[in-house]
């Protein structure tokens, strides 16, 4: 913590950045904070309650953050993959941001977490996460920590669902998606949902019906998962924010499985690795094509 606060203060004092984006203690646990004065660096914290993927704030979809000057942003190794995604898709220039990488041994499921971090309490997405050391970073702080073994429960649930019949899967999803209120919070918090105009907001023609009925909900969730193919870094923010508690991560995980198995792609913190949906290989499998 000292190391992080000292670094933030130094960056602000020397003027190499105007804002440090990190976490602070809020009324309900950790929360994002924009530190703009050196003396405020003392507000910064980093512990297993810092679950938020702050890369979402780099998305150009947030014009109200344009006036903050040059930003240094705190990233866990997994968050760095989202930053890499934004750089890969030319939404952010690498030299436009300063990345403060934090060594990470896993986080809790939510920012309030009062539990101690353990194999039982750790956020599901951290199970099997291989990334302890931030690589895409200008500064690295924190102490090395052990991770937690996989597979994640979400991954197991994907496999369980795949073993069902299509009709049973249909029933499962209809029950889950029935709680969708089409607030699109899943999109808003997603660091990789960076379209200036979302297809769900297009009205001429109306591609995705805005009504929260079965037809509109299915179209929206198909569309969202498709658009995140090869982009999703499995940060789980969509699932955390959903006011209906829909297991949205299952959809993105399913898509990730496809792009992994078929195109050998894994979320990467290397912006130079090409996106699997913007590229192709002549020998891509096509057993499903007549």
């Amino acid at each position: 913590m000292r190391e992080l606060r000292d670094l933030a203060r130094r960056l602000l004092e020397e003027g190499s950045v105007q804002t440090v984006l990190g976490w602070e203690e809020g009324p309900r646990g950790a929360r994002p904070v924009f530190v703009r004065r050196p003396e405020e660096a003392e507000r910064l914290i980093f512990d297993p309650r810092c679950v938020h993927n702050l890369a979402a704030y780099l998305s150009p979809r947030r014009p109200h953050l344009k006036g903050l000057g040059r930003i240094a942003i705190c990233v866990k190794p997994c968050d760095a993959k989202a930053v890499a995604g934004l750089i890969r898709e030319t939404q952010v220039a690498r030299d436009q941001v300063v990345l403060i990488g934090l060594r990470c041994g896993g986080v809790l499921p939510d920012p309030e977490g009062r539990e101690t971090l353990s194999g039982e309490t750790v956020a599901d997405r951290c199970r099997g996460c291989p990334d302890r050391e931030p690589r895409l970073a200008d500064h690295v702080v924190g102490t090395a920590a052990e991770g937690f073994p996989g597979p994640s429960r979400r991954q197991q649930k994907v496999e369980e669902l795949l073993a069902l019949s299509p009709d049973d899967r249909w029933r499962f999803w209809q029950q889950e998606l029935a709680r969708c209120v089409r607030c699109h919070a899943c999109r808003q918090v997603c660091p990789l949902c960076f379209c200036e105009q979302c297809i769900a907001d297009k009205t001429r023609p109306r591609w995705v019906e805005s009504s929260a009925h079965g037809r509109g909900n299915l179209a929206w969730h198909i569309s969202r998962a498709m658009h995140l193919a090869g982009r999703c870094v499995d940060c789980g923010e969509c699932e955390r924010v959903c006011p209906g508690g829909i297991p949205l991560g299952l959809l993105t995980r399913r898509v990730a499985k496809t792009v992994g198995e078929r195109f050998g792609w894994r979320p990467s913190d290397d912006p130079a690795v090409p996106s699997p949906v913007g590229t192709w290989r002549p020998e891509d499998p096509q057993e499903f094509i007549l």
Binding site: V158, L161, L162, P166, D167, D168, R169, W170, R171, F172, W173, Q174, I199, W207, V208, E209, S211, H213, G214, R215, L218, A219, H221, I222, S223, A225, M226, A229, L251, R254, V255, K257, T258, V259, R262, F263, P276, V277, W280, R281, P282, D284, P285, Q286, F288, I289, L290
Partner: protein, 159 residues
Amino acid sequence: MDGEGARPFEPRITAFVCNWCTYTGADLAGTSRLQMAANVRIIRLPCTGRIDPMFIVKAFERGADGVIVSGCHPADCHYNAGNYHARRRFAIFRELVDFLGIDPGRLTFSWVSASEGAKWRDVVNETVDRVRRLGPFTAYRELVTDPPVTRVIGEEVPA
């Protein structure tokens, strides 16, 4: 209208096809007088790369029982790589909708060149047979059920 009452079920199939290959192939099938199922409505697009997966969703929303997407064989794309991009996209789409419980049997992807009229006939017949076996896609149509109509305002035009 395709009957779903007393008449036997006739699948409604929407086909999104590439202008440069399958569309011409389908035309060839016709001018060659090849017999095939008459259940397919063709929508012509410049390339499979132009086919947004949402087109398929829209087709189901508007009552399709099955969908065909067909374009140029690998290395034959009029725009060099549109079909390669489409191939990746539809590989992902197919597995995603399968995961959501849409039987992938309702979807056909094919490469049909301008000279393959007979292949187009086979693709159509095979798809229609398959979707016929799966039956009407009532699950999709029942996604929205409104309360019963109690009163009609306005004048009905006599049939």
